[in-house]
């Protein structure tokens, strides 16, 4: 009977097997847990299968869903357009669909390190412009109010743009805080601490209520722009803290080496400190990305319909009342899946690009 915590393998132990052999080893070494799983599967397994597959309704209308005893998957199928695109006008749906496809493909391509070159930034500027034109209209396409953009489309736009622009802005803030001299440095500190103390939702309310009051009517921004500005501000502040942590972890010797080479302080920061700081800050930045993907749900409170807002609105449809639990389960599964993948990706990046200690 050892007091060693069980997750730490003993030195010299055999390597852990994979696949089905691991499952067998697990069952054999933890008979109590295995017994619990087997009993649970026998007790609830058939009921679970019956409820979610056999008696579930996959296609049909609300009436057939109410008769059936199982899950109403048809609700999700019926409302999938609202979940994905919010209240976008049905006639122009092809624009939202192509914009979403473009955004997802662009994000997927940007995740692969092979494509990390200068051209990618120029491509993103072009893609952002293209998506904005597709969604809002203007030259050649009928204009659509930005308030009608919703669903997953909105969540992705908000989180991608806030994180993508937040990292460079956060870098500027972090550098300003550290190297800005007495006035600018303290100003950056005050700014960062103030914005960090206030919840994002309060910032959203402030922006949506104060912007029409303070700015003249001609340039008063829509709620979408307000939300974008607030998320950008908040993510730049959090990224500034993460990058400051990274900068502090770069050893003083690196700066002295730069000085010995005759570099000015600005070049030291740009060429020596920031590249190393970024690598150290990857875990924190990954956490920030995941957190902001989850925070985009807050726009539902200022009246925009993001993914969760679209699910709420769909479940209040009078024809489909009473299926809100299916909607919530779908939202839970979706966010869990995506955030889990994001954290795995962050771990992979950290492993591939960190310096071996």
């Amino acid at each position: 009977m050892s007091v060693v915590p069980s997750s730490q393998p003993l030195v010299g132990a055999a390597p852990r097997p994979d696949g089905i052999l691991r499952l067998w080893r697990l069952l054999r070494s933890h008979p109590l847990s295995a017994a619990c799983y087997v009993v649970a599967a026998l007790l609830w397994g058939p009921d679970l299968v019956r409820w979610s597959v056999t008696e579930a309704v996959f296609t049909g209308d609300a009436a057939s869903c109410r008769i059936a005893a199982g899950v109403c998957w048809a609700f999700i199928g019926e409302k999938s357009n609202i979940f994905l695109f919010g209240l976008y006008p049905q006639t122009e749906l092809w624009r939202a669909q192509s914009a979403l496809l473009l955004l997802v493909v662009a994000i997927a391509v940007s995740l692969v390190p092979v494509f990390w070159r200068r051209g990618l930034m120029a491509a993103w500027v072009g893609i952002a412009g293209l998506i904005a034109w597709l969604l809002i209209g203007g030259l050649g396409l009928t204009p659509v109010s930005p308030l009608q953009i919703g669903g997953l489309m909105l969540s992705l736009i908000l989180s991608a743009s806030s994180f993508a622009l937040g990292v460079p802005l956060g870098t500027v803030l972090a550098i300003g805080r550290r190297h800005g001299g007495p006035v600018l440095g303290r100003g950056c500190v005050a700014f960062i601490e103030t914005v960090r103390s206030i919840p994002t939702i309060a910032l959203l309310f402030m922006a949506s209520i104060l912007a029409p009051q303070l700015l003249p009517a001609a340039i008063a921004p829509s709620k979408l722009v307000c939300a974008l500005a607030v998320f950008l501000l908040a993510s730049s502040v959090y990224c500034a803290e993460a990058i400051r942590g990274g900068m502090e972890s770069v050893g003083e010797g690196q700066r002295e080496a730069g000085r010995a080479l005759g570099l000015s302080p600005a070049l030291i920061v740009a060429l020596i400190v920031i590249p190393q700081a970024m690598r150290s800050a990857v875990p924190s930045l990954g956490n920030i990305a995941v957190a902001f993907f989850k925070e985009t749900t807050l726009v539902g409170i200022i009246g925009m319909y993001d993914f969760v807002g679209a699910i709420e609105v769909s479940s209040k449809d009078s024809a489909w009342l009473g299926f809100d639990m299916e909607g919530y389960a779908f939202a839970f599964a979706f966010y869990f899946f995506v955030c889990y993948l994001m954290t795995r990706y962050t771990l992979w990046i950290e492993r591939s690009f960190s310096y071996k200690a």
């Binding site: 190297h179 007495p182 601490e193 103030t194 939702i201 309060a202 104060l210 009051q213 989850k294």
Partner: protein
């Protein structure tokens, strides 16, 4: 002429300015934040004056003392629509602090328990805790709040309240329990205050017996008993009575009501923060060298005794900073209760704005309201760090 010291013969390194960082103290950051706030307020005043063409001094806090005109039902402080706007914001702030404090304490309890169990030898417990952590950390907190609220709305409606043993009523509108009240609150308050003062003064007084621990423990025990006795006498003298809940009209009358909004907010914040705290505690326990466990084993301690006596006291220092920052996050996250209508500070502020039209003043009070708890917790953390002589980050030189 003083000889130049050895240090000045070294390379003339660029002198980086003093970092106004985490070790420089909460008071300096507070001053900086408030200074920035004042500047921003003045700028906004000038802007809004320019935009609306009025005088550039529209900031007027005088409206705070006029009657609010909107009700706040579910709150710690009693509030009626004739009370002032200031009292409305104060009520909202008290609600925020109350629900955040309670959920922080519960989250720490849950987090420590689950963090300790996360390394259990029973695989199924480990897997369940890992599943709980994964689920509650990877889903948005607003979604969790809406889910719990929807679940609580499945309770029976008011007219068909569940009647548990005649004393407690449970329905969609909340859980109504009998509440004690007194007709002589002054005597109760006086007795409680006296007991508290005696306790605090006596506790510090027993410090002089630090070198006689048994005597100190006995003195402190006696002191505690004495103060409890005093409080009990005060309660008895003030003539306590019970107010029973009953269904009257569209709600409960009498007793204390735990509303579903409060319950959903508390549950969400507790479970969400608990997952993060469990992860911190688990990481803290995993960072304790195996030698500590072996030492416990060689002394004949069981695994649980080794955990309690050797490992946990060591991780308190490591885990305090992330736990306190999670408490700060909890205070900020309490803002989501706006979505279900629990009257915390943000909802009170938006109601005040829609009734008075004074957006800038109300928002500045909102910012101060959120700054106070986060700065207080930051100061607490600095005090703990100084006391325990922690480095500012694990593994770094102070």
């Amino acid at each position: 002429m003083m000889p130049r010291s050895a240090a000045s013969h070294a390379l003339a390194l660029p002198v980086l300015p003093t970092k106004a960082g985490s070790r420089q103290g909460a008071p300096r950051r507070a001053a900086a934040a408030l200074g920035l706030g004042a500047v921003a307020l003045a700028a906004l005043a000038a802007l809004s004056g320019a935009a609306s063409g009025k005088l550039p001094f529209p900031i007027d806090f005088g409206f705070l003392w006029s009657p609010a005109g909107f009700p706040i039902v579910d709150s710690v402080l009693p509030f009626s629509p004739e009370d002032s706007y200031f009292r409305a914001l104060l009520t909202g702030w008290t609600n925020t602090v109350f629900v955040s404090l309670l959920s922080c304490m519960l989250a720490i309890l849950i987090g420590v328990l689950l963090g300790v169990l996360a390394e259990s030898r029973v695989a199924i417990i480990r897997q369940f805790i890992a599943g709980y952590r994964l689920l509650f950390r990877n889903t948005p907190i607003l979604l969790q709040l809406l889910f719990w609220y929807a679940l609580l709305q499945r309770l029976p409606p008011l007219r068909q309240s569940l009647d548990l043993s005649g004393l407690v009523l449970l329905s969609q509108k909340g859980l109504a329990i009998p509440a004690p009240f007194t007709e002589r609150p002054a005597s109760l308050g006086l007795a409680a205050l006296l007991a508290l003062l005696l306790l605090v003064a006596g506790w510090r007084g027993t410090r002089r017996f630090d070198d006689a621990p048994v005597l100190k423990a006995r003195l402190r025990g006696g002191l505690l008993l004495g103060c409890l006795l005093m409080a009990a006498i005060g309660i008895a003298l003030s003539g306590p009575q019970w107010s029973m809940p009953a269904i009257v009209g569209f709600g409960y009358r009498g007793g204390a009501v735990v509303t579903p909004e409060f319950a959903a907010t508390l549950l969400t914040l507790t479970l969400y923060s608990g997952a993060f705290i469990a992860e911190s505690v688990r990481g803290g326990i995993a960072s304790i060298p195996v030698g500590q466990w072996d030492a416990g084993h060689s002394l004949g301690l069981t695994r649980w005794q080794a955990m309690r006596l050797i490992v946990l006291p060591q991780i308190v220092k490591l885990v305090a900073p992330p736990v306190i920052s999670q408490c700060v996050s909890t205070v900020k996250n309490s803002g989501i209760a706006v979505a279900i209508g629990y009257p915390e500070l943000l909802l009170a502020t938006t109601a005040a704005i829609s009734h008075s039209g004074r957006a800038i003043e109300c928002f500045s009070l909102l910012m101060i309201g959120y700054l106070i708890p986060s700065l207080a917790l930051g100061a607490l953390l600095e005090r703990l760090q100084k006391r325990a002589a922690l480095p500012s980050a694990p593994g770094k030189l102070p």
